[in-house]
Symmetry: C2
Subunit: 458 residues, 2 copies
């Protein structure tokens, strides 16, 4: 029996396993539910031991524990795959959030499982264990396996970075497989091969030493709110490109083949209008909407504050003004380099009538896995086999901090192999996961391990 | 005996009267002290009756009462002077605010009276009664007198407008004398002949229908914070002039004589730097600092708000942005006309990628009393006689709402005849009033009534 057939034969039992796990309300942000988070972690450890993992343990952190497992019997000549998923979930309250059914009682309707955590991320997590069980009980594992299931993904992965740094040597592998993203559509699988990085800053403009009376000083003092507005205006060219000198220097150019690939999953202006409520797009004219939000770096104002903003009229001439801005970055931009460039440019365009300061709040590296890497080719094989259709490549506009952490800290190619849909309601009410995608995901993971072993051999 | 000699002879008693009034803690903003506010009003009514006012009464309002008095025996051929002052005071707490002495126990040190309300505005109020008493007991009143002493000036004159509208006919007069401003220096008296008006607005910019994720939409949506920054930037020309079309159309031009007059009380760049903590002034280059803050209209940003402004990093692409802006206006600009012009201009410069709206929050008319009017000439006579020095003319950058109310509602030339100094600490701790200025003020008021009667005759 092939592992694929094994998985198909045990589909009902695999469903039941997932139902059991989603019943545990492992809400990581709610202190009273810390015991439930731990119970979900222990459930996974028990399940891994049942399957036969030689090593499966709950590792304590200062927060919720991390499930860690190893199955390294494939041999030193076989590649090692590091699997990441998370077993904590977003909060859910049937009444307050308006769920149609109890969020922690699995309900299947028309082949769709409704439950908190079904798609984010318990379904994909259990699919990984299903795939391993299917391989172990048939052909045997073609690769060595290391598993991290985190209990704090929904609370900013508070202690994962520390864990990865401490376990760096033990976590060594040849590829990292993360199943926590969505695919383009149920029929069209997709692989996200690039995520954007982030450089989050604050611009502070200081005018007079204290707030002044606008009647007594207005017209003689360069208003810092106005000066900040002038600075912000100069951060973009009129055509929508970022005007910070050198901003695009390290951007890996988009070749024709890559643009053709991205054009396979277009974001039409109609879709854009529906999502934004607007009629007229903005931004770099030479790039498609899809490219602008994924393959191009951006600079956005996230917040702006100066003077009196309460109800009514206060005739203050503010002493200072502040803006939060953030740059989404693409390979091979470096967040700290971009910060230095923004800082230098803001210093240059700050009028002599005020002073300014740019502070760095937060950075995240962009991530990009080469589309022609062995692991990526194995992922193409895997989706093609499970879906009967070759996956398309996509770039994601946001950041997943753990991806760049794994990439930077462990030096691994990271494969984002998701199975759910962006319409699954991951953080909202009535979160759901199509069970056919759950099983296709299991099949795809089996195929990935097989293909990665095969391709690594040659 | 001349009224001037009478006032000089009774200086000690006039001091004692003022001491009595400042002992009453008539803090209008503190509900528990409403009885004290009323007691101060009644004290004035009693004092007016003692002097001989045929009419002196406490008129109830929905808030604190208004003291109203009439003494119209000078005859129909004599002009009528409407006097305005206020008997309520700012809060004062010896410990919390750091007063050297009890704010409601008068202390005289080196000829200076320390007490809450001494300069703002009980000293000037009692000086008016002293002047009337001095005239009545010697030459007789040369003018008809109407008196309004308000009990809510420190709480935005909540019910004065209604009172003035209701008593409009009864308040008819030939000039209005307000003693609630300061003079240039103890040696150099000054007359403020113009106050600026105000048009206070909010600019609202709407981008996407809801806040968006900057990673998912940044680079395709015109960020409303940025669009607002672009709009604000376009409200001024690079040279500091307001760029709203027609903004300066109704500004009464500054003639050479007026500029020469204003140059007598210069605001040096050193003074400006000390007050602002800045080194480089800003604003219309063709006008002096003094002119920019008093004789020229301005447009200032008073507040600005968009997106996330708390601590830390939130990668939001805001749905909207807001700025509070206000225009200080000079004669003969009209606040609503300026609002319409700003609104039209903002509509014109709003990029097609967002929508904007300009809302009017508050208006105040500019005020200007002709320097060659009879009442103003009488004021020059009065200061010249009392100080031995001709007063200089000044324009004030701020607004005093009651001035334009009196000007508009009653059609009166308003004379701002102050006696204190801007350094008297009007709203701060250790408020004080030089007693020599208190007596010079009394002398000046006597001289004003005499001169106004004399000049009105010719």
């Amino acid at each position: 029996m092939s592992p694929q057939d094994y998985a198909a034969a045990h589909a009902d039992r695999f469903n039941t396993k997932l139902f059991d796990l989603v019943r545990i309300p492992s809400v990581s942000t709610t202190p009273e539910l810390a015991g439930e988070v731990k119970r979900a972690g222990q459930w996974l450890v028990d399940e891994m031991k049942r399957i036969g993992f030689p090593t499966a343990e709950l590792i304590a952190t200062a927060g919720h524990p991390i499930v860690y497992g190893e199955w390294l019997t494939a041999g030193a000549d076989r590649p090692t795959v590091l699997i990441y998923g998370h077993y904590d979930v977003q909060p859910a309250d049937r009444e307050a959030d308006g769920w149609a059914t109890d969020p922690f009682e699995p309900v299947v309707k028309d082949g769709v499982l409704y439950a908190r955590g079904s798609t984010d991320d318990k379904g994909p997590v259990v699919a990984h264990l299903n795939a391993i069980e299917s391989l172990v009980n048939t052909d045997g594992l073609p690769v060595n396996i290391k598993v991290i299931f985190e209990g704090e993904e929904e609370v900013s992965s508070l202690h994962l970075g520390q864990f990865v740094a401490e376990y760096k040597d033990r976590l060594s592998a040849d590829a990292c497989l993360i199943s926590d993203t969505s695919i383009y559509s149920a029929e069209q699988p997709s692989i996200v091969y690039a995520l954007r990085g982030l450089a989050y800053m604050e611009i502070h403009v200081q005018g007079p030493a204290t707030d002044l009376h606008s009647g007594g000083f207005g017209g003689t003092v360069h208003n810092p709110a106005q000066a900040l507005a002038e600075i912000i205006t100069k951060l973009h060219n009129p055509d929508g490109a970022v005007s910070v000198p050198g901003f695009y220097d390290d951007v890996r150019p988009l070749g024709k083949d890559e643009r053709d690939e991205l054009a396979k999953t277009p974001w039409t202006q109609e879709d854009w209008s529906r999502a934004t409520g607007l009629t007229t797009p903005w931004g770099e004219p030479d790039y498609s909407l899809r490219e602008r939000v994924s393959a191009r770096p951006t600079l956005e104002v996230n917040g702006m504050l100066s003077g009196f903003t309460g109800t009514g009229a206060k005739t203050v001439l503010p002493a200072k003004a502040m803006a939060k801005i953030s740059c989404r970055l693409v390979a091979d931009q470096e967040p700290r380099d971009i910060y230095e460039k923004v800082k230098a440019y803001v210093a240059q365009i700050t009028p002599p009538t005020v002073t300014s300061d740019v502070r760095l709040l937060h950075v995240g590296d962009p991530a990009l896995t080469e589309r022609d890497s062995t692991a990526m080719q194995a992922a193409i094989d895997a989706y093609t086999q499970a879906w009967g259709r070759r996956p398309v490549f996509m770039r994601e506009g946001g950041s997943i901090p753990i991806v760049s952490d794994f990439q930077r800290e462990l030096g691994l190619p990271v494969i984002l192999m998701g199975f759910g849909l962006s319409t699954d309601g991951a953080h909202g009410p009535d979160e759901h996961f199509r069970l056919d995608l759950y099983h296709k995901g299991t099949q795809a993971i089996i195929a990935f391990h097989q293909a990665f072993a095969e391709r690594s051999r040659t």
